[in-house]
Symmetry: C2
Subunit: 383 residues, 2 copies
């Protein structure tokens, strides 16, 4: 046993060395943070910084870089100069931030890189760092609730004949799915935006927490939610074959889901929604396949300026025909971004009567807008 | 429609700007790579570098860092100086590498950071970059096979009463699981090593491809594989409560799995294995709960030096008792790392007759060793 303990001691020594880097020693109290600050929920294991303050909405960053000449944090469009202490640790405190999730980068001598204290999130077509400025109780709907049952997010690779490559999707099934082996469920296809990927909704968006809460409260129907890639991450060998995503969604993905899950396969039980570019992909996919979808939503993704009645190859021109086909056309936006309310008004005046328009107060083109949109949208489906 | 196209043009312009950074323009042919090189399978979308050569086993790295004074690649224990061209792009070519997965870092003026062209992998308790040097056909067993059915890796958060926090696990279910709503399955608990996390086996290890292939070929029983955290990534609010993982495995995790999945719940249908520190956690968990597990494995994780018969509180002393309890004690190692073959021999001579010892030829303490170990171990279970 003595020799066993020597081996174990070596293992634990490794742990301690690594943990020290992160600002905490195993078995000891963590390094105290300034009053009011807590580690961001987006930090890696043991990392004390970035630390965020729920009251002031500031964030403190620390970077260990003794050999660098200049270190900055690039957050929400502003570069913050960091100051170095005698041990080579650089620090800065941000201005107050909007609550919710924000990407950021560290600049080491002008080179934008990720902070190794942060979990990594795919945004703007590359891996990025992130912080989460906590909301008060009004943000509970997207946080983990230990007192309710939880669904599962399933990571699945399937083969697409149309673009000839392996594709990765995430599929949420509600908590009750396992316990009801003969029950069939309606399906929502939910697409990420430009520069993000099929993990965005479940990681940055906390969609599973949102759906778990809505379903447990009886506000939303139990449903399957399919989160495909809008062709951001693909197989490295087949870069060229990813242009035709709407065709892949309609002809490869829907049949695969209906074959693999217990789904209701009629159009009344199939919805599609997406954020930003995913909203555009939703309009392209649904309007080209009105026999497949009866519910749809665009979150910060209704890309029409003026002349909405003429848009999308005239799909809105015959309002009665559109109304009879589509049970719901949900359009949402943050109040601090480009707002399609004039186009919505135009469509309503033209006679499109299935639009629900949602404005997220005080938020921009960001995840808090889209978490709220999903929370408003999902309860309207399949009813 | 004209205005719609203007909006779309803006979206695609963003795509092009980002894609240019990655070395490819949308709709154009990708930048050609040197003869014999392909993008690493671990790269992010559109990233051409790092590029790897299956023949020479070299890797070429490129980093855009016009403002840096010195840029290096830190790979497999060696730092490679990169050279800068007139556009500020730094390049180097590595020595030949062992096939399989390797972590690496970029040093910007001496500061170790991640390469933004690489997917991110959790190792050594922080996020890292990775490359994969491709194996020949002998590596097919861990690659995606489009011609066979695929299981699902399910991402699940559950509440642990013992350490009072939300825990994340991944659970693999075989392809046939959905189609057999009344069938119950045996369960393998599979643990990662030091500094990695519950995603290690499914991401770095490609365990789903391995299990899919073994099950489809009839070599392994269809089984559920549960991949918990050995307490690397935890809830940021409750750092201190993660010491007692073996108790959590036995008392929180196993009941949760048996409640949530269609499992066979007797010890003959429950196995546990782990790599490196996860192998140590396996021995600690199984030997303290022999009524729960009848199959076990340690991959590069049999941490005993000499006196093996006396180790683990004397669990091996009564060989007959151990043999009657345990159907399989699988011990594996790479030939290029510390090798427990003397201890295995000692245990066998002592009368422990359920040991299967596997050596991975030419590999060290690395993922190729562990992919091979799982491929050898899984077919022996539940038979």
């Amino acid at each position: 046993m003595r020799k066993l303990y020597i081996t174990l001691a070596a293992i634990f020594l490794c742990s301690v060395v690594s943990a020290q880097f992160a600002g905490i020693q195993r078995g000891q109290k963590p390094v105290p943070l300034p009053e009011g600050f807590k580690p961001s929920s987006t930090n890696t294991f043991l990392a004390r910084y970035p630390a965020v303050n729920a009251e002031t909405r500031e964030a403190i960053f620390k970077v260990v870089a003794p050999t660098a000449q200049k270190v900055q944090v690039d957050l929400a469009g502003k570069k913050y100069d960091m100051t170095k202490d005698t041990s080579g640790v650089w620090t800065c405190t941000s201005d107050p931030q909007v609550v919710g999730f924000h990407y950021y980068a560290i600049l080491i001598d002008g080179v934008a890189v990720m902070d190794r204290n942060s979990e990594v999130f795919f945004g703007s077509n590359w891996e990025s760092s992130g912080i989460e400025i906590p909301e008060g109780p009004e943000g509970d709907y997207y946080r983990f609730n230990k007192d309710i049952p939880h669904g599962q997010v399933r990571s699945i690779h399937y083969w697409s004949d149309i673009n000839g490559l392996e594709r990765h999707i995430n599929v949420y099934v509600p908590a009750e799915y396992e316990a009801n082996p003969n029950k069939k469920y309606p399906v929502l296809y939910l697409v990420h935006g430009w520069g993000e990927d099929e993990n965005g909704w479940s990681v940055q968006g906390h969609m599973a927490n949102i759906m778990d809460g809505l379903i447990e409260a009886g506000k939303a129907e139990p449903m399957i939610v399919v989160m495909p890639s809008g062709d951001i991450k693909t197989n490295s060998d087949v870069r060229e074959a990813s242009g035709n995503v709407t065709e892949i969604f309609a002809k490869d993905l829907v049949p695969y889901i209906d074959k693999t899950f217990r789904t209701k396969t009629d159009r009344e039980n199939r919805a599609m929604a997406g954020l930003s570019r995913g909203g555009f992909q939703t309009t392209m996919t649904v309007f080209a396949n009105m026999d497949m979808f009866a519910w749809m939503g665009t979150f910060s993704g209704f890309f029409v300026r003026g002349d909405a009645v003429d848009a999308f190859n005239g799909v809105f021109k015959d309002a009665d025909a559109f109304n009879s086909k589509m049970n719901l056309f949900f359009i949402s936006t943050g109040t601090e971004e480009r707002n399609p309310k004039d186009q919505v008004l135009e469509l309503k005046e033209h006679g499109i009567n299935n639009i629900v328009f949602h404005e997220s107060q005080g938020t921009a083109h960001e995840w808090l807008t889209w978490r709220r949109a999903l929370n408003e949208f999902a309860p309207l489906l399949f009813k």
